[in-house]
C-alpha cells in the first residue's frame, strides 16, 4: 500500500494544455471520479461526521439533541455494561480464534497433499463460508436446541445429559463460538492452504535429508514460512471478532441474562431499544479505536514473528 505516484507516460500527460483542453481534461477526471466520490461523501464521510457529532450529545432520535460534550465517553468508560460488553466480545474472540486457526491449519495440512477428491473436500469445507450468518445461526440454534435438538439427543444416547446451550448463560457464548467456528473454518483453511502451497518443497526435503523429524519440520520450517498467512488470518479474525453481531443477534439477542451482550449488540440496543443514540455513537467510536489500536499493534509487532522470506 503505497501512495507514491508513478510518473505518467508522456503521451497520457500533456503538461501544457490550452485552456479548452484543460477544461476537457478536468471534466474527464470528474466523470471518472464522481460516481464513487459522491456516494462515499453522502453515505460514508457525512455519516462519519454525523456520528462524531451525535456522540457529543444526548439524543433519543426524536426530541432535539442536547449537547453533553465528552460525557457519553466518560460514562461509557466508567460503566459496568461497557466493561461487560467488551468482556463478552473478548470471550468470543478467545474461543473462536484458536478454534478456527487450529482446525483450519489441521485441515490445510491434511489437504496439502495429493489425494483423491481433494477439490470436492475443499468445496464442502468452504460451503458454510458462502452461507449467510443468519442461516448459520438458525441452523445451529436448531441443532443445539436444548429440548428437541439433535445434538442433545445424540449426547443422551451415550448416557449423558446435554447442556442448555443458548438458553443457559454459561453455555450461550460457547454455542455462538461453535457456530461461528463451523462457518469460518473453510475460510481459514483456504487461506492457510494457499500459504502452505507457497512453501517450496525443497526446504522440507532438505530438512528431511538432514534428519529432521515431522514435528521438527513443522515447527522449524512450515510454521515460520506460513507466518504471513497466519498473520492475515489473525488480523482479519480479530477485526471481524470485535465486530461480531449477526449470529449473536439471531441466536441469543445478547441474552440470556446479558451473557452474550457483545459491543455491537450493545450499540444496537442503546440506539433502538433505549433511545440513547449519543451513547451508542460514542460506543461505536470506542470500539473503532480499540480495533484500530489492536490492528496497529499487530502490524507493528509482525516484524518479530512474521517471516516474509
Amino acid at each position: 500500500m503505497t501512495l507514491t505516484e508513478t510518473p505518467p507516460a508522456a503521451s497520457v500527460k500533456q503538461p501544457i494544455r490550452p485552456p479548452r483542453k484543460r477544461l476537457r481534461y478536468a471534466l474527464t477526471v470528474a466523470v471518472f471520479l464522481l460516481p464513487s466520490a459522491v456516494p462515499l461523501l453522502l453515505f460514508t464521510l457525512i455519516p462519519m461526521a454525523g456520528s462524531l457529532w451525535t456522540s457529543l450529545h444526548e439524543w433519543n432520535l426524536i426530541t432535539p439533541m442536547k449537547w453533553v460534550g465528552l460525557d457519553n465517553y466518560a460514562d461509557l468508560l466508567s460503566s459496568e455494561e461497557t466493561r461487560a460488553a467488551f468482556g463478552h466480545t473478548l470471550y468470543f474472540i478467545a474461543g473462536y480464534l484458536p478454534l478456527v486457526y487450529a482446525g483450519g491449519l489441521g485441515l490445510a495440512m491434511l489437504l496439502n497433499r495429493a489425494m483423491k477428491g481433494r477439490d470436492l473436500f475443499r468445496a464442502i469445507y468452504f460451503l458454510p463460508v458462502v452461507t449467510s450468518w443468519v442461516v448459520v445461526a438458525l441452523l445451529w440454534k436448531w441443532l443445539l436446541n436444548p429440548a428437541s435438538g439433535i445434538v442433545n439427543w445424540a449426547i443422551g444416547l451415550v448416557g449423558l445429559e446435554g447442556p442448555g446451550w443458548w438458553t443457559d448463560p454459561d453455555w450461550a457464548m460457547p454455542s455462538i463460538i461453535l457456530a461461528s467456528a463451523w462457518k469460518d473454518l473453510g475460510f481459514v483453511m483456504i487461506i492457510l492452504l494457499a500459504g502452505l502451497q507457497a512453501i517450496p518443497n525443497e526446504y522440507l526435503e532438505a530438512a528431511r535429508v538432514d534428519g529432521a523429524n515431522a514435528w521438527q519440520r513443522f515447527r522449524r520450517i512450515t510454521l515460520p514460512l506460513l507466518s504471513p498467512s497466519t498473520f492475515f488470518v489473525v488480523v482479519i479474525s480479530l477485526i471481524n471478532g470485535f465486530q461480531v453481531f449477526d449470529q449473536v443477534h439471531v441466536m441469543t439477542g445478547g441474552g440470556p441474562a446479558g451473557a452474550t451482550q457483545v459491543v455491537v449488540e450493545q450499540v444496537y440496543n442503546l440506539t433502538f431499544k433505549y433511545g440513547r443514540a449519543g451513547a451508542a455513537s460514542a460506543l461505536s467510536w470506542l470500539l473503532f479505536a480499540v480495533v484500530l489500536v489492536v490492528t496497529l499493534i499487530q502490524v507493528r509487532g509482525q516484524r518479530r514473528w512474521v517471516n516474509y522470506g
Binding site: 500500500m1 474527464t28 458462502v130 450499540v267
Partner: protein, 268 residues
C-alpha cells in the same frame, strides 16, 4: 495406513460440514406435530411440504428472495462500475491532490459499518427514505475496497497499451472501456464475488432500515420468520433451505473461482 487415516479425518470433517444442511432439509419436511418430539422421529411417515406451504402463506417469500437477488446484483454492478472508473482515474489520470484524495478513499475503508449505522439511519429518515430499496442499496453503491483492489490491477496494465490506443486516436473513455477493462477481468471477477457475497449476507443495515416485509432481504426475512415462529422449526428450516438454494447454485458454478479469489487475498 496414514493415508487411510487422512481420508477418515477429512471425510468425518466433511460430514460435520454437511450435516447441519442435511438436518435442515429433514426438519423442513417433518410435519408440524413431530418437530419437537424427542427422540426425533426418523421415519419418513407423514413427511411432506407442509412447512413450505406455511412459509409461503405467512410471508411474501418469493418477493423477499427476489429482493435479495436483485439487490445483490445491482450492488455488485454499481460497485464494479464506480470502482473501476475511480481506479482508472487514480492509476492513469494525474491531477493535483490526487494522492490526498486517494488517502481519503482509503480512510473510509477503515470505518466499520456500526459506526455509520445510526447517522445513516437518521440521514435516510430525514429524506423520508427508510423502508425503501434505495436505502438498502445506497451505502453499497461505491466501495473504497474495490477502488483499492482495482487500482492495483490497472497499474499492472502496461502503459504501452494505452499509448498505442492514443496513437489510434482513442480518448480516455475508449482506453478505459476497450483496453483497460478487458485486461483487468480477473480482478473484476474477484471483486464481483466479494461484492455479491457481502450484499447477499448483509444483515445489520437492512435490519435497521427496513420494516415492511415487501422490502426485506433474505437474512432479515429469515430472522423475522424465526421471531414469529419460535417453536415451528420446520417452517424456519424450510425458509433457511430455500434461501440457501440460489447461493448454492451460484457457488457450484463459480466454486473454483470463489475459492481461488479468497486464497489469493491471503497471499498479498
Amino acid at each position: 495406513m496414514a493415508r487411510a487415516g487422512r481420508y477418515v479425518v477429512v471425510g468425518l470433517g466433511a460430514l460435520i460440514m454437511l450435516f447441519p444442511f442435511a438436518w435442515a432439509v429433514i426438519t423442513s419436511l417433518t410435519p408440524a406435530g413431530a418437530v419437537l418430539q424427542t427422540p426425533p422421529d426418523f421415519t419418513p411417515e407423514g413427511a411432506g411440504f407442509g412447512a413450505y406451504e406455511r412459509l409461503l402463506e405467512t410471508m411474501p417469500f418469493w418477493r423477499i428472495m427476489f429482493n435479495s437477488l436483485w439487490i445483490a446484483v445491482a450492488s455488485t454492478v454499481f460497485q464494479l462500475v464506480t470502482s473501476s472508473m475511480a481506479a482508472y482515474a487514480f492509476a492513469r489520470l494525474p491531477f493535483p491532490g490526487r494522492g490526498a484524495l486517494f488517502a481519503v478513499y482509503l480512510a473510509t475503508l477503515m470505518v466499520p459499518l456500526q459506526v455509520l449505522v445510526v447517522p445513516l439511519f437518521i440521514e435516510m429518515r430525514t429524506f423520508n427514505l427508510t423502508d425503501t430499496y434505495f436505502a438498502v442499496l445506497a451505502p453499497t453503491i461505491a466501495s473504497a475496497f474495490g477502488v483499492f483492489l482495482l487500482r492495483q490491477a490497472v497499474r499492472q496494465v502496461p502503459k504501452e497499451f494505452d499509448e498505442a490506443a492514443v496513437l489510434d486516436g482513442a480518448g480516455h473513455f475508449r482506453i478505459f472501456a476497450l483496453v483497460v477493462l478487458p485486461l483487468i477481468r480477473p480482478a473484476l471477477a474477484t471483486f464481483a464475488i466479494f461484492g455479491f457475497m457481502a450484499s447477499w449476507n448483509s444483515f445489520l443495515w437492512p435490519l435497521v432500515i427496513i420494516r415492511s416485509p415487501e422490502f426485506m432481504t433474505l437474512p432479515l426475512g429469515l430472522a423475522n420468520l424465526h421471531g414469529q415462529f419460535t417453536t415451528e422449526w420446520n417452517v424456519v428450516m424450510a425458509g433457511s433451505v430455500v434461501s440457501v438454494v440460489p447461493i448454492l447454485v451460484l457457488y457450484l458454478f463459480a466454486q473454483k473461482h470463489v475459492i481461488a479469489s479468497v486464497a489469493q487475498s491471503g497471499l498479498k
